[in-house]
């Protein structure tokens, strides 16, 4: 397995985001490294989800949203006119806070992406992609005998892993996760965290989480956001043991306010 840690997958420079008059992100520059889990932490409303959503242009759907600055993936401008957001999102997959399987079978949930993006030639290939994705999402054993049952018939933790399988079925290069385990019990959370660690060998993972323990457990790099600023970015082990900025220290030790 090639180790490309330290190479920059997504580079962002001087990014500002406005929702109408509301200045949500203020001059943020941060690099998302290859084969690395990057955690965004910070109090509610600090801009971490907004910033995450900039990385695959999820904010395009909000009319009042204006983004300035440089966002490059592999050196290519994510916001260039020539970039098709749908293609972009196949490369930069996303998993949300609440599991949101399509009202389709387990199989079709995973097969949906490869089908619409024309990634597979025939039925055998498609079945292979579905199985591989479900295996990588650590849910194959639980669903292999009921692939045609509705995705919504699964438990919450299983649904979230199904959504992760769906996200990785299009062979993305980056996976964005917005609070992927906040609705799950501790066992399902541990399974998701184990999975994130697995995924990092092939993808860059960016995770937004309110659980600092979770950020500490799964990530190698951590960025702390506060009031739209990115206050501090560094090795997770440093951020949680000896942060430089007083605001980071106050937040992670539970002293904010």
């Amino acid at each position: 397995m090639s180790d490309m840690t330290d190479t920059v997958k997504i580079s962002t420079k001087n990014v500002d985001v406005f929702y109408g008059d509301n200045h949500a992100i203020n001059d943020v520059s941060v690099d998302i490294l290859h084969n690395t889990v990057t955690a965004f932490i910070g109090p509610s409303g600090c801009g971490k989800s907004t910033f995450l959503r900039c990385l695959n242009r999820m904010n395009d759907t909000i009319d009042s949203c204006k983004i300035t600055g440089d966002l490059l993936m592999d050196g290519e401008d994510i916001y260039a006119k020539s970039v098709d957001p749908v293609q972009l999102r196949a490369k930069v997959g996303m998993v949300f806070q609440k599991p949101n399987p399509f009202p389709k079978s387990i199989f079709d949930n995973v097969a949906y992406g490869p089908r619409i993006h024309g990634l597979v030639g025939n039925k055998t290939d498609l079945e292979e992609v579905v199985e591989k994705s479900l295996r990588r999402a650590a849910i194959w054993k639980e669903v292999k005998d009921r692939l045609h049952a509705p995705g919504t018939s699964l438990s919450g933790g299983q649904q979230q892993r199904l959504c992760i399988a769906r996200a990785i079925a299009t062979a993305p290069e980056v996976l964005l996760m917005d609070e992927p385990a906040s609705a799950l019990d501790p066992i399902a959370t541990a399974q998701i965290e184990e999975l994130i660690d697995e995924l990092r060998h092939n993808y860059s993972v960016v995770i937004v989480t309110h659980s600092m323990q979770q950020a500490a457990r799964v990530s190698q790099k951590t960025a702390f956001f506060h009031l739209g600023d990115m206050v501090e970015y560094g090795d997770t082990s440093t951020i949680f043991t000896n942060p430089v900025d007083q605001r980071t220290q106050d937040y992670i030790t539970g002293r904010f306010g």
Binding site: M212, Q213, A216, F240, T241, N242, P243, Q246, Q249, D250, I252, T253, G254, R255, F256, G257
Partner: protein, 236 residues
């Protein structure tokens, strides 16, 4: 020192309790050492016996602090400086307990020495003891103030205690060479001096813990140290 209070105020109460328990242990160990030295100086076997009994409290206090710190770590998942405060509290408590043991050992030897004939060298040892006690008191102050600069200063000054120890060592060995009847007594005195020198080293360890709590990084290992013991004494 981290500014501000925790949102969960019971967490602050916990940390304050830890700090108070360290201060309490520190206070007791100061008494132990000071009384052991007093017993040595005044050839007071009764006081020495009291020190030996009092040391038992140190053990109980160390266990209590360790339990409290473990409980806070398990229940509150402290981060950054809070975590360092708790980890170093456990280490400082164990260091103080060891200093207590050394003070107790000095008291034991003070009982023996109180029964032997007085020797001039005891004064140098008591003087060394007072210097050791002073540095110990200072390091306890540095701890309650979270004063890394003072801690480093004490850390650097341990070399003075090392030098006193070396001087005493040479002197006692000379006495023993001159008069073999002094060997028993001289050995006791050397053990007392060695115990004091060890207390000095433990004091620097507390300095290192204070530095770590405040700065978040280790103080390092290139502390000025006295020349190796026995140097300058002819090997018979």
């Amino acid at each position: 020192m981290t500014k501000g209070r925790h949102i969960v105020s019971a967490f602050d109460d916990d940390l304050i309790t830890v700090q108070a328990k360290i201060s309490e242990m520190g206070g007791l160990v100061e008494v132990l050492l000071s009384e052991a030295l007093e017993a040595l100086k005044n050839r007071d076997a009764e006081l020495a016996q009291a020190v030996i009994l009092k040391d038992k409290q140190m053990d109980a206090m160390e266990i209590g602090l360790e339990e409290l710190a473990t409980q806070i770590i398990a229940l509150r998942q402290p981060m950054a400086q809070d975590l360092r405060v708790l980890l170093s509290a456990i280490k400082i408590a164990s260091t103080l307990e060891r200093i207590g043991d050394l003070a107790k050992n000095i008291a034991r030897r003070a009982i023996y020495l109180s029964e032997a004939k007085p020797v001039k060298i005891s004064h140098s040892i008591v003087h060394m003891g007072q210097e050791t006690l002073r540095q110990l008191s200072e390091v306890l102050d540095a701890h309650s103030q979270r004063n890394a600069e003072l801690a480093v200063d004490i850390w650097n000054r341990d070399v003075e205690i090392d030098e006193m120890y070396n001087a005493i060592f040479r002197e006692v060995v000379t006495y023993m060479m001159e008069d073999s009847r002094m060997i028993g007594l001289g050995s006791q005195l050397l053990f007392v001096a060695k115990n004091l020198e060890r207390i000095g080293d433990h004091t620097t360890h507390i300095s290192e813990m204070i530095y770590y709590v405040v700065k978040g990084e280790p103080l390092g290992d290139d502390r000025p140290k006295g020349e190796p013991i026995g140097l300058g004494v002819s090997p018979f």
